[in-house]
């Protein structure tokens, strides 16, 4: 992950994206395709809503008793031959992983796509320690080769089309290992073949792998990785040492609980009945797979999020990306505008909670939505994203209590919102006084011929692209009073 410091606030970054016609076309194409397919895959299951309710309830049960389940998980993983580490923040997680890799004497690791390791900037931390991390998921490989940042949870290179990917492979593969085949074209099958050839030598020689996990089963100590390409299986089974960095909220209580999520996740994310490969492992197995297994349990803002009774539901997220794919704002803003590995609607509620309202970027994210509700409708764990957005908006505009790195803190209203607050106060005052409102309406009606078509200052944001509504000669209120004699 590139440093996210100094990221512009969402509106500016998104504004730039809306002018990038190629990006717009790439995103429209990709999200349009997956939206329809997801709907078809979901329609196959008549009990979808019941699965969804169960999925939310199991996650809520886990979160409400997270300490209990984490201890159980630790005990089971340890009993099965794994070692459990606890990391309070990104810096600690990076230190633990770097230390574990160093202890093996290796200078390179292969990686399975993992949101948690992007969140903590693990690749950069390893690079500073002289360890090279190879991303092996196709889209992550594209992003890494292009020195780019991910823009989608599931398909980090969704902002690139096939022609751009071909160019990146041709130009950059040679710097990282086996170069792209001569005369590489832009058919997806050819591009996939190029990735296969490029990565194979890395898989076969790798001694250390780093992964995340989609689920951790407290009852059994089992970890689950859901994937498509087989790069996950390569990383999870061929190396001698496996290090999994997993957010504490990925826990589910029981083995049988997996039946809910393994039905919901593939259909929500890739619109498949089941993804090509799912690996489940419990500790280590004699003679099969890694001999050393380390699980790094990551907090990094999750307990802060847990402390918020409204915002807590964001921790149910299973990273399916259905909310991104249906979001009209994401489709036009692109993932980079969200300034975090977690883009789209879920990012708009997760990033400001994990990081706190640390900068204008985080303050702008809860406002990066029209509250259209499409995200909530498709969310397989029923996260009421609009409700959490409203909750976080209030924290930005009015301030309030929040937990930051484990400490209860009083957040002050955002400074950037001072003018807006004044306007809102005035509006609220007038709207609570119908007489004042009525005088204002009449004044506007009397001056209606004088209203300009384009407004200066903040009003420009409207008139740049839209005509102003015409003010009618008479408000409804006045019409009613005139024709019905004042009503009640």
């Amino acid at each position: 992950m590139k440093t996210q410091l100094g990221m512009p606030a969402f509106p500016e970054a998104a504004g730039r994206s809306t002018r990038d016609l190629r990006l717009r076309a790439n995103l429209r194409h990709a999200t349009g395709l997956i939206r329809e397919r997801r709907a078809a895959a979901v329609a196959e299951l008549a009990d979808w809503e019941r699965l969804r309710a169960a999925a939310a309830a199991v996650k809520d049960r886990t979160l409400r008793h997270l300490d209990h389940y984490l201890l159980r998980l630790e005990e089971r993983v340890t009993a099965a031959g794994g070692t459990v580490h606890w990391a309070a923040d990104a810096e600690e997680a990076n230190r633990i992983v770097t230390g574990l890799v160093r202890a093996t004497g290796e200078r390179e690791v292969v990686k399975v796509k993992s949101m948690a390791t992007q969140e903590i900037g693990l690749n950069e931390a390893l690079a500073r320690a002289g360890i090279r991390a190879y991303e092996t998921d196709l889209a992550e490989l594209i992003v890494q080769l292009a020195d780019d940042t991910p823009s989608h949870l599931l398909v980090p290179a969704v902002h690139r089309n096939r022609g751009e990917i071909r160019d990146i492979f041709r130009e950059r593969m040679g710097h990282w290992g086996r170069p792209a085949p001569k005369g590489l074209g832009d058919r997806p099958a050819e591009l996939a073949e190029a990735a296969r050839l490029h990565l194979r030598e890395k898989f076969l020689r790798a001694k250390v792998a780093v992964s995340g996990a989609n689920f951790m089963v407290a009852e059994t100590g089992t970890l689950v990785v859901v994937e498509s390409e087989g790069n996950g299986r390569m990383c999870l089974t061929l190396p001698e040492t496996l290090i999994s960095v997993v957010g504490i909220e990925k826990t589910v209580p029981t083995w049988q609980d997996l039946e809910i999520y393994l039905q919901l996740l593939p259909r929500s994310s890739t619109a498949e009945r089941m993804n090509p490969y799912t690996s489940l492992w419990t500790g280590t197995t004699e003679g099969d797979g890694p001999r050393h297994f380390h699980l790094v349990l990551l907090d990094n803002g999750r307990t802060d999020t847990l402390a918020d009774q409204v915002g807590r539901q964001a921790l149910r997220c299973i990273r399916c990306s259905a909310c991104l794919n249906v979001c009209p704002v994401y489709e036009r803003a692109g993932g980079h505008a969200y300034g975090s590995p977690y883009p789209g609607p879920i990012g708009a509620i997760l990033t400001p909670q994990l990081r706190g309202l640390a900068s204008p970027l985080e303050e702008s994210l809860p406002f990066a939505s029209t509250l259209c509700g499409a995200c909530y409708e498709v969310c397989p764990v029923a996260i009421d994203i609009p409700e959490v957005l409203l909750h976080l908006r209030a924290r930005v505009a009015e301030g309030g209590e929040a937990t930051l790195r484990g400490t209860r803190t009083v957040i002050r209203p955002a400074r950037r919102h001072t003018l807006e607050r004044t306007v809102m106060d005035a509006a609220a005052w007038a709207l609570d006084r119908p007489g004042v409102l009525r005088r204002g309406q009449r004044l506007a009606a009397r001056t209606r011929r004088l209203h300009p078509r384009r407004l200066p200052g903040p009003g420009r944001a409207w008139t740049e692209s839209r005509e102003l509504p015409e003010v009618p000669p008479e408000s409804f209120r006045d019409w009613w009073a005139r024709t019905r004699g004042g009503g009640r």
Binding site: G15, L390, E420, R488
Partner: protein, 238 residues
């Protein structure tokens, strides 16, 4: 039957004809309409901009103005959604009753009055845009379409990507003007491509955005609230 009209601040100030149309439709169906003068805004602009604390007086005002009515009808899905979904969260039990007695116009017509043919006449091709809060919060379903299908002379045109948000989003339209405009432009293009002479919805706030964008694109398609179509008759087309 006697109902109270909650006209909403946007309609009161900017689209009074929608309020008048609502009254006309209801009265044509034999309903007595009251307009409690103490009413104002439901508070949605404040809540959705983060000023939850400023909604208190407006919520109380609504409860006072409408508390005595069995049916409160509003020609705005968005404001109905605010009252029904948010009032109980903001004001607790005291608001629950009034909230549950607040109906968006098409819900009231179809569910309470049991009417789909209101005797309207509107001889134009129309594209219907289901607004987000009507579609996904209230779950209006096909109620608006059923009403439109009964309007004599009206030809309902398919709108591509109908269920996608128009990009208004209240203060989103000025806080994120570029994305809002891009969404509005796409919606306006879809409306124009539908070949309709009017775009119809159950929320004037969305229509101000779509209509303003259409006008800027130089389109002749005009935004019309559903109530205005339902109020139109062979004697008087709104």
């Amino acid at each position: 039957m006697r109902v109270a009209l909650f006209v909403t601040c946007v309609n009161d100030t900017l689209r009074p004809r929608t309020g008048r149309a609502t009254v006309a439709v209801l009265e044509r169906l034999g309903v007595t309409v009251d307009f409690p003068m103490g009413q104002s805004c439901c508070g949605q602009p404040f809540l959705s901009t983060g000023y939850r604390g400023r909604t208190g007086p407006l919520v109380r005002r609504y409860l006072e103005a409408f508390g005595g009515y069995q049916h409160i009808v509003t020609p705005s899905a968005s404001c109905a959604a605010m009252v029904r979904e948010q009032f109980p969260r903001l004001a607790g039990e005291t608001a629950a009753g009034v909230a549950s007695r607040t109906f968006e116009l098409t819900e009231f017509l179809v569910d309470v009055l049991g009417v789909t043919d209101v005797g309207a006449y509107f001889p134009y091709p129309v594209a219907y845009h289901p607004t987000c809060h009507g579609l996904r919060v209230l779950g209006l379903g096909n109620r608006p379409r059923r009403l439109l299908e009964c309007v004599k002379g009206l030809e309902l045109r398919e709108l591509a990507g109908a269920e996608e948000c128009c990009g208004f989003g209240g203060t989103f339209s000025v806080k994120n003007p570029a994305v809002s405009a891009a969404m509005g432009a796409d919606k306006a293009r879809a409306v124009t491509a539908a070949g309709a002479s009017a775009v119809c919805a159950v929320d004037n706030s969305c229509l101000l955005h779509i209509g303003g964008t259409l006008a800027r694109q130089g389109s002749a398609v005009r935004p019309v609230h559903l109530a205005e179509i339902l109020a139109s008759t062979e004697g008087e087309v709104w």
